[in-house]
Subunit: 636 residues, 2 copies
């Protein structure tokens, strides 16, 4: 009875959280991220969960500071209006990044701990590869962090491990299947697939579904004709078409290209393969885009892993592993609750690669958070790479999958990156910054603001207001920052404000929070950039021309033939997920600012059918497993 | 104050748990394992934790039914006497297994739920490979199970995933190191290893330790001579000696033998390698044998991964990754608390392979459980394979690492296996049983009891009393079971009793529990079989002759040269972990009963220096990654 009443109250009204925020006393100079993280004591996660309106049976605690949230909550709160939905995107970055994660975290710290507005940050789970590589963690930085940092960066609640297990189970099934089909008769295969149990044999539900796909409507295994047995028992996978790779959540450059099957037991069926980084698995993209357990299961089943010898797609469902994949992923589908340095709530869920996938955290975390913050609250999430890539995919792919409508885009810029776009010297990770970046140079800043302007215009294509957040470094001069804000507003931004969250925590992002709150009151007219019904090539052209500013696109023969194949296979209606360098609006990383007059080369086209998108490879973009190629730091 | 008093009481007295047991109402015929598991509602794990005397801040809850237990408990209860320590081992098994896990679980269900004696089962975490292969789960079976079965069999609390991550980080570091050393000058390597941070460079603690190992006592990086720079910067790993393999927790036969490094970026440094199954990682063996976080870190650092070109061992510490490995393993070191079908406590922790490692669950779980059950309570744990392998390693390796003294051995036998040893036809997994096994045949039973007798004698070598548990199948006749019990007692067993836990739960193992309780009151005089000071070959010979009944041993030249190398490298004082088939007391799986007159061939000798044992390979034993070679079931 008590529970029912509690549920009723929670579902009927907007509630400002009674949240105990954690006090921050920022030091100067700012200590290291790990020192800041360890100096703060997080609240017990069950306390936090209660503060934001979660019921006891809606969370599954993992240790003291992490909890998974059950999807049943969506049903309980289904009649509650959503909060405001804010996307943090960036201008075309330097290799050092613009600080989108710290802005995301600083913004929610400001909203909730300083302005008493309910808010949630929804973040991606980082790969452990770069964590142990040169990149470091992804928990934010300075006084805008998720804590405890180690819990965020390592293992978390095991989602990436579950993805790895599911991905590799499917990979093993593919090779094992090919081997068995190559070495056994139709009848032997059939007898192993449909064995007699205590003298009786019958088809499983999954086998009956496969039979129906093959146009066979028999239910007694003993009545199939030889031809039907053959069709049922053989997938006839063409090994040269296998697109499903094994994955590992480690930067392991020696696995980029390997030969498998060299043991005698595999009877000579060797082939070349590779390991991708775990977050590049299509299963990760599915986790990010799925809306329910049933939907996830269907998407897992639809994943295409190869073609058969007739050119027809072979799916995970054909291999009969959908159930096993879904059971391995049954906990991963629940978002993980953590907190910021100031004790405000954060969801960490899914972290698909931003090149071959869409680079956004999960739809489910956003949906749950939008219910929890209530009508006047805010959910802030982040898009990987520059706005031309991450934001475009957020709108055209993620928002399409979720049906959610964004309220505001926060566009993060740094003086450093703008100077680079204005003609400053190269910025390289690991090398000291040139003096152009440490001394005032208004001319370079002014010259580079074209990139900011272009990214603002891209957001406006989708009908969403933009607030520019200038992420302040101590070497930035006041005049430089003022100039950026002025140009941003002239370029159509709703507002532009400097942010000091890195050195000051949420208190340093209050102006940003206020600007976002105001912008969210604007009437928006969100729209997708293209209709799914358009041909694949047309959709690619729209993105290239309207977003990147290309003159046109040019498909290689391989790309064109893939487009034809996917269209013929019935996958032409999927959205497009461009795999392009993030270091330029064009396909050429060295072209900064706003390149024009270029023809965007599409070298290949691939598809993630379960996740639900086609991904064209632009130019020579690398979709390698190990984006951070050096594990050199590991040497000592 | 409250907490202090609570701690005091708990540490001062033996306490019979006030445990709410779960009622079982066994059905006939016995439903499937998963049906039985799902029909029972487990207690919330925090309730269970409280019932057995754990304090709130000593557990970390993972969902509703699993919790990790903190090692701080060992400090709090250090003055409390240990309970009785019971090992469940088996006779030489058929490929279908003897049911050691069900006996272990049935026994604790009987002790606690039926006799009100505190007890704990300490089990291994199963690999997911066989779970999705032909073997099925390892949560027990019938009415003697750990619940929920899916939680036990999948992911658990992520320990195996952590091991995989740590193992593969080390593997990546080895290849990356070799590549960098092959392609860079001494000076370039040195500058990357000891970079100037803000113009200043210094050695890390881990680097200073390495310098000391090299006999260099300088602390200023700029004062090393060219020769010292070279010694410091180069490990000079001989690629042909690399013994560290990558691992995956999936049965993936195509990874048994692979070639890595074939991408252009690796500049031609290809080499042949393999993936082992994750539970075969030395890190798993370390997790099972370690006694504290500090000890684990030291063992991780000591792992030898290759030799350098002078034949000296290269360790994880030399590669500088000890800290990274330890942080990846910081949660895995805590045992996971679960429960049986009758609500009694279970620890699940570590699951090293029983061939290349010692095949026992963790020392830490046993130690904690022995404190929690109190002086009059029982901790029951299991040794993999037959007693000649698993039990021998339990005594000589695990008990040596822990310092714990076993009270009783429960030796599990089945009428089926005894008939096989008496000359019955082959027993093959997947094939129907021959009629000799389904009809009464006293002659075969009597003939096979020699194996039971031999295994009893092996336990007696260590001075530990034996209770024989006859694991009853419905096809066993009363006369057959009586005969086994009679011969067992004549052969020196303290007692021998039939067990019906599979069909009846703890109620079916009450007689076994009573026999074990009585046996545990015997005065024991536990002793190891050999002294560590003996030469490696002598230790191997003692095991071969006294345990297996071999006439002598014969080392291949390769094995002899490895023995010489390890002895020269200072590893001669480690215990021995035999890698032998479990299907015979000899090295030949087809020789059943008690083979005699054989010379045990030692084909190779390897070492797990971090785990702390030498492992000779006996005959043609396979230590392949994928013990269950078929993933065929995955096809549909």
């Amino acid at each position: 009875m008590v529970k029912t009443t509690e549920r009723w109250i929670q579902s009927q009204q907007y509630r400002k959280w009674d949240l105990r925020c954690l006090k921050l006393q920022p030091l100067s100079p700012v200590p290291s991220d790990i020192e800041i993280s360890r100096a703060q004591s997080p609240k017990a996660v069950d306390v936090l969960a209660k503060e934001i309106g979660l019921l006891t049976d809606e969370i599954e605690i993992y240790g003291q500071t992490k909890a998974k949230v059950r999807l049943s909550l969506l049903e309980r709160l289904k009649d509650q209006p959503d909060g405001k939905y804010v996307l943090v995107a960036g201008i075309t970055p330097t290799p050092l990044g613009e600080g989108k994660s710290t802005v995301t975290i600083g913004l929610v710290q400001a909203l909730t701990a300083h302005l008493s507005i309910n808010s949630f940050a929804c973040l991606r789970q980082p790969s452990q590869g770069p964590t142990f590589g040169v990149k470091g963690g992804a928990a934010g930085g300075g006084y805008a962090q998720v804590i405890p940092m180690e819990e965020f960066n390592l293992h978390l609640t095991g989602d990436i491990h579950a993805i790895t297990a599911a991905n590799n189970l499917l990979a093993a099934a593919i090779d094992a299947r090919i081997l068995h089909e190559n070495t056994q008769s139709d009848k032997a295969l059939y007898n192993r697939l449909v064995p007699a149990v205590n003298g009786v044999r019958g088809f499983s539900a999954i086998q009956l579904a496969r039979l129906r796909r093959l146009g066979i409507y028999k239910t007694d295994p003993d009545t199939l004709t030889e031809e039907e047995v053959r069709k049922f028992a053989r997938l006839d996978i063409d090994p040269s078409t296998i697109t499903w790779q094994r994955v590992v959540d480690t930067n392991d450059r020696f696995l980029r290209k390997i030969t498998v099957g060299q043991a005698n037991t595999e009877k000579g069926f060797i082939r070349q393969a590779q390991f991708d980084i775990a977050v590049a698995s299509e299963i990760m993209a599915i986790l990010a885009l799925t809306t329910s357990l049933q939907d996830m299961k269907e998407r897992l089943g639809k994943m295409v892993v190869a073609n058969d010898k007739k050119g027809e797609p072979v799916t995970a469902e054909d291999l009969g592993v959908t159930g096993a994949l879904a059971v391995l992923m049954k906990d991963a589908i629940k978002p993980t609750l953590m907190q910021t340095l100031e004790g405000t709530p954060v969801f960490v869920h899914a972290g698909p690669f931003a090149n071959i996938a869409h680079g956004n955290s999960s739809v489910l975390a956003d949906k749950i958070a939008l219910k929890l913050v209530g009508e006047k609250g805010f959910v802030v999430t982040e898009a990987g790479f520059g706005a031309d890539i991450g934001m475009e995919k957020f709108f055209n792919i993620k928002c399409r999958a979720s049906g959610l409508v964004p309220s505001v885009v926060v566009l993060v810029a740094t003086v450093r990156a703008l100077k680079m776009h204005g003609g400053g010297p190269n910025v390289t990770a690991g090398a000291p910054l040139k003096k152009e970046y440490t001394e005032e140079n208004l001319q370079l800043v002014a010259g580079g603001c074209c990139n900011l302007q272009k990214q603002i215009q891209i957001a406006q294509l989708f009908g969403v207001p933009v607030v520019v957040a200038v992420n302040i470094f101590k070497t930035d001069s006041a005049a430089e920052v003022d100039l950026v804000c002025k140009i941003a507003k002239q370029s159509g931004a709703f507002d532009a404000v400097p942010c000091n969250h890195w050195s000051a925590g949420g208190g340093g992002a209050v102006k940003l929070a206020q600007a976002v709150e105001e912008a969210a009151r604007q009437k928006t007219s969100f729209k997708y950039l293209y209709s799914l019904e358009l041909p694949i090539v047309e959709k690619i052209r729209i993105i290239a021309q309207k977003v990147y500013g290309a003159q046109d696109i040019e498909l290689s023969p391989a790309a064109q033939s893939q487009v034809d194949r996917y269209t013929q296979q019935g996958f032409g209606n999927l959205p497009i997920c461009m795999a392009k360098t993030h270091l330029s609006l064009s396909h050429q990383p060295e072209r900064k600012g706003v390149p024009t007059g270029f023809i965007l080369p599409i070298s290949d086209v691939r598809a993630s059918i379960g996740a639900g998108f086609i991904y064209p490879l632009v130019g020579t973009v690398s979709i390698s497993n190990c984006r951070s190629s050096s594990t050199f730091f590991l040497l000592f």
